[in-house]
């Protein structure tokens, strides 16, 4: 079987695919790539099916060695791509001969880069997915130096080569459209206005579980007491006792006991959240 070897794992590099939808009732998070658009693009460039597993890097990329000839594509956060030290294309198929070293450099903007390989990374699936779930520990461990990465056989689709590429610039602010509810009535009317008119900042405590906010006005509850635990969706904006909104990302817990004031729709808004660096301004606006 063809494959690659991890030479430098970077700050946090995990295998991700479409995740594990359909198991939330057993306590299993959805997981999957945080920037779904970048994952899909990387697979499309290589003619992979949408469920092919890719690598998700965090801020400082990854370095891999091809053990056999493979074709890869790097998307997500823009960065320098090098093959054996020479500049190679970002956002396009790149052929690696056996022994070649692929270096995915530090993100120039954004946070998460995606590395797809033609045929997909074929680590053993758990509950139908190869995603690493950092909350509950399902799926393969985060990559370490020397991790072997098997690669599957290419599918019938040809390598696309070109695609319509949107090279994301560094966003001045993250604007998240929200639909209020299901627990907006737990907050004062003034607080709901505050949520939709104020600015927060992305906290450095953010991770694959949630994007935490800071440096904005805390929301005030109208109802005291505890909310009995209830099911949580991807994109839920949960408000813990400190009043600062937390946006649930792919590895979020399936149930939670803090009220959800609003929900951000899946797709481009959550993809943008996945790429927002700590310190970025965040605003919530009515969808």
């Amino acid at each position: 079987m063809s494959g690659l070897l991890v030479l430098r794992p970077g700050a946090l590099t995990t295998v991700q695919d479409l995740g594990r939808p359909g198991y939330a009732h057993l306590g299993v998070p959805r997981s999957g790539a945080l920037d779904s658009g970048a994952r899909d693009l990387a697979n499309r460039l290589l003619g992979n099916p949408p469920d092919a597993a890719v690598l998700e890097t965090t801020l400082d990329g990854v370095t891999l060695r091809a053990l056999t000839p493979v074709t890869v594509a790097v998307t997500g956060a823009p960065c320098a791509v090098r093959v054996c030290g020479r500049p190679a294309a970002w956002g396009a198929p790149v052929r690696l001969r056996a022994g070649a070293e692929l270096d995915v450099g530090r993100a120039e903007s954004g946070v998460r880069g995606y590395v797809a390989v033609r045929g997909g990374f074929r680590v053993p699936p758990v509950l139908g997915s190869r995603s690493t779930d950092l909350l509950s520990g399902l799926g393969p461990a985060a990559l370490t130096c020397g991790t072997p990465l098997p690669v599957g056989a290419p599918g019938p689709d040809p390598i696309h080569g070109a695609d319509t590429l949107r090279v994301p610039g560094p966003p001045a602010e993250l604007v998240l459209p929200v639909r209020l509810g299901p627990r907006a009535d737990w907050f004062t009317a003034a607080s709901l206005r505050t949520l939709l008119t104020s600015a927060y900042r992305v906290s450095a405590a953010s991770n694959r579980i949630g994007l935490r906010t800071e440096a904005g006005p805390p929301l005030t509850r109208r109802r005291a007491g505890e909310l009995p635990s209830e099911g949580m969706v991807l994109g839920a904006v949960q408000v813990p006792p400190d009043g600062l909104p937390v946006l649930f990302l792919a590895d979020h817990p399936v149930t939670g006991g803090y009220p959800v004031v609003a929900v951000v729709p899946e797709g481009p808004p959550l993809d943008a959240a996945a790429q927002a660096r700590p310190g970025t301004r965040v605003r919530f606006v009515g969808a």
Binding site: P21, G22, Y23, A24, H25, L26, G27, V28, V126, L127, S136, L138, R179, G181, P182, R183, P228, S229, E230, G231, M232, V233, G235, A236, P253, V254, T255, V260, V263, V264, P265, E266, A287
Partner: protein
């Protein structure tokens, strides 16, 4: 049964009812209707303490209107598969729990073994089921200080819930026993021994 349906974003609905018993009945009704093809496209059905979440709903508006008019029959005590779990009553909090109940530790296995629990919902970790069925007089408080590591297989109580830790993890529940039953195995179908709706009886090992 009072049913409130709350929209959750553009593709989910939260159905709220008044009690854990109502959730069990509602959850069974949701599964019945899904099996009958009435909830096409619903990806996740997540029961919790007072709610059932339907996630991955293509057109939530009309569905919300229909759900609000559902007649949900109460759940019979014998509905749902029954799982028997052998337990050793060797937990470090057994004496404290017994004292709180006003009984001797020897009496705990009989009291717990006489209850048919039901998995109300899962959460906290894959395969961790929140089991309802403890009568009001047998509801111990959480520990004042959570343990940093609760051993896998620990039978634990807290408030209205009982549960078994599927793997070692931090936890604040009172530990009364342990089991060798495998609570969670992703290679097994179903992966969780305690899936929502399952009934559970704990039998004492060697009794």
């Amino acid at each position: 049964m009072r049913i409130d349906v709350l929209p959750v974003g553009n593709s989910a609905l939260l159905i709220e009812v008044g009690s854990a018993a109502d959730v069990a009945a509602l959850h069974a009704e949701v599964l019945r209707r899904r099996d009958a093809g009435e909830l096409e496209g619903v990806r996740d059905v997540v029961p919790a303490a007072r709610t059932v979440l339907l996630d991955g709903v293509r057109d939530p508006g009309p569905l919300a209107g229909r759900i609000a008019r559902w007649e949900v029959p109460p759940l019979a005590e014998t509905d749902g598969p029954l799982v028997t779990v052998p337990v050793r009553y060797d937990g470090p909090d057994l004496a404290e729990v017994a004292a709180g109940w006003g009984v001797s530790p020897d009496e705990v296995p009989g009291l717990v073994g006489g209850i048919v629990f039901r998995v109300a919902f899962c959460g906290f970790a894959p395969g961790f089921g929140y089991l309802t069925g403890l009568p009001a007089r047998l509801r111990p408080p959480r520990r004042a200080t959570p343990r940093t590591a609760v051993p896998a297989g620990s039978l634990a109580l807290a408030g209205e819930y009982a549960g078994v830790y599927p793997r070692s993890s931090p936890g604040g529940w009172q530990l009364i026993g342990s089991t060798e039953a495998v609570l969670w195995d992703p290679a097994r179908e179903p992966a969780a021994l305690f899936a929502p709706g399952v009934r559970v009886r704990f039998t004492e090992v060697g009794a």
